[in-house]
Assembly symmetry: C2
Homo-oligomer: 354 residues x 2
């Protein structure tokens, strides 16, 4: 049983902890939190050992009537692997702690790539992280693009990719972020950081990205163009993508026109927090003009990296024989693909049994 510590219990951390909890080969060693806010009460309710990460230590937790088990150092001490889900930039300053304890560590995409030995997406480069001291699970957008590019590159070859990322302004709980009624080129300069970030996973990929920000909180939406090195039919591309366990091809018959209905669908399906772990690709948007492939996909910024973090834990700890084994185990335990109807072009989804 792997004891996994989660340093930070915000948007990503709480999801990773809950995902660890349902894995057959992992247990939550504990979670850290700076302040006793509503998420701390959730950690307490779940029965996770709570470690105080703020400057005032356990004082504010005592005041809030929440028991703590120690400091972040104590958390690392009881962990076989640590997943650092602190805010972007903070993770790098924690790296020394993990090194001091000789504990493998996983960082998030908000950190610079050099924080870790490898930038990680399970479908693309699981093996590169096997046995490494640290891995950086790339951002939600980079994860979404990498999952898509992996089968396209393997099957058709990618000459060049051009993506416009229409990003949600903030998460549902981030009430101080904007815009309220505007569309912002963000950043105005091209390329956005997403293209270079994808290259941390696919070093040889030719990709240009443009970022925008809009007044939604639900999901990112990518407008994707991939100039392929061959010219498959749109139907062949749909079948290829439909065979990927972390890509969901939205059948036209579902009548899902945007992120709102997508998340209503996953809430209806009983997903925890209504999370959408899969890239959601509108099946009828998959279009091939000459060798230009186009499609739209929606990415749940709070959720798609969660199964990747689980796979990264297995890769660093060398407990699983292959990427496929880990991905299938994560999917099966978490419920990736579950509750979603299959697009008619989709082959049966892989499971831990096949």
């Amino acid at each position: 049983m792997l004891h996994v510590g989660i340093n930070g219990f915000g948007t990503i951390g709480k999801r990773v902890a809950d995902a660890v909890r349902v894995q057959p080969d992992m247990t939550v060693a504990g979670v850290s939190k700076r302040s006793p806010n509503f998420e701390a009460t959730i950690a307490d309710d779940r029965g996770y050992d709570l470690y105080a990460a703020g400057e005032d230590g356990r004082v504010p937790f005592d005041a809030a009537g929440l028991d703590t088990a120690g400091t972040v150092h104590d958390l690392v001490e009881v962990s076989d692997v640590v997943v650092d889900t602190t805010p972007g930039g903070v993770g790098a300053s924690n790296a020394e702690i993990y090194e001091d304890h000789d504990t493998p560590a996983i960082f998030q995409g908000g950190e610079d790539p050099d924080v870790a030995d490898v930038s990680f997406v399970a479908r693309a480069n699981y093996d590169a992280a096997v046995g490494a001291d640290s891995a950086r699970v790339v951002s939600c957008n980079t994860t979404g693009l990498s999952r898509l590019f992996a089968p396209l590159e393997e099957t058709y070859g990618i000459e060049k990719a051009r993506v416009t990322l229409v990003r949600r302004g903030g998460d549902p709980g981030q009430t101080s972020r904007g815009p309220i009624n505007d569309t912002l080129p963000d950043p105005v300069e091209i390329p956005s950081h997403h293209g270079p970030d994808v290259k941390t996973v696919f070093p040889d990929l030719d990709i240009d990205t443009m970022g925008m920000k809009v007044p939604t909180t639900q999901m990112h939406t990518h407008s994707v163009n991939v100039t392929l090195e061959s010219t498959p039919s749109a139907e062949a591309v749909r079948e290829l993508l439909g065979r990927e366990s972390r890509l969901f091809l939205i059948p036209e018959t579902l009548g899902i026109d945007g992120a709102g209905k997508l998340k209503e669908y996953t809430r209806d399906a009983g997903r925890p927090r209504g999370d959408v772990w899969e890239n959601c690709i509108w099946a009828e948007s998959v279009t091939v003009e000459d060798n230009d492939l186009y499609l739209f996909q929606a990415i749940h910024q709070e959720a798609d990296v969660v199964p990747e973090n689980i796979d990264a834990v297995r890769a660093l700890s060398e407990r699983t024989a292959s990427a496929r084994q880990s991905i299938d185990r994560t999917n099966d335990a978490l419920g990736v693909g579950r509750g979603l109807v299959e697009h008619e072009g989709n082959a049966p989804r892989s499971t831990a049994d096949d």
Copy 2:
């Protein structure tokens, strides 16, 4: 003096009427309206003769205490040229009226291309409309793309264009349109109608477009990729575009990050309604990677076609010698380019005097 009738006095019609009013060679023959709403009181206040277009004729106007001068037939009778600004699809049903009166007519981009002899953008194909019986001023988005493509095609050649149009959900007054908090691929199918519509102006252009809809009301934002037939520097492209009188290169120093500040700027500058008649291109977004040009531009959906309608009036009526003469006269009378600082790469804007 050209007597210009405006059939319809909504978002576009009221702007076209006000633009006609300030031209030295045109006068407003009258405007039509179906109901005596707030815009009818504006027409009355401006002193435009009001013609009743609804099924109940003048009755509702009488009840509202607004004088009417007759029906749409009467309006066409007193007009040398009619600009039809009725809702999309209604214009086509009015075509017979204009033909019966042998009156040249201008339609808007919401109509099918076959409603008129020519689909029109002054910078691209003014001469094609000279002396024609009818012209269709293409939609705001198609106008914005055509103004951009014309100098690029002439100077560098266009191998292929790929554009993602992130469209405002509705205009500020369209309170029943959505989305409120979502990003919609719209249409989900690729290409959106914009690519084929641009081809009504540039028949040989290779272009794929993807449309989206977001919860803003202010402007459309285009994420543009143009694969050129040559490889200019970004600075050369900025200089080329800066010389175009209906393209505004937003200097980075202005600190304008989106449509909100753009329109605040034009309101501060004293523009009528704060209208933005120009394509607004973020100067620092202009990027060339190999022969791929990228940029972001914002398009004010209520305003950019207004100067085009004025030029179309002149083209149909054959009153002006050249496209350049008409464009300069329209710009000068309306104030296109006025109140906007020049980007350092911009050459002096053309005026009626040069």
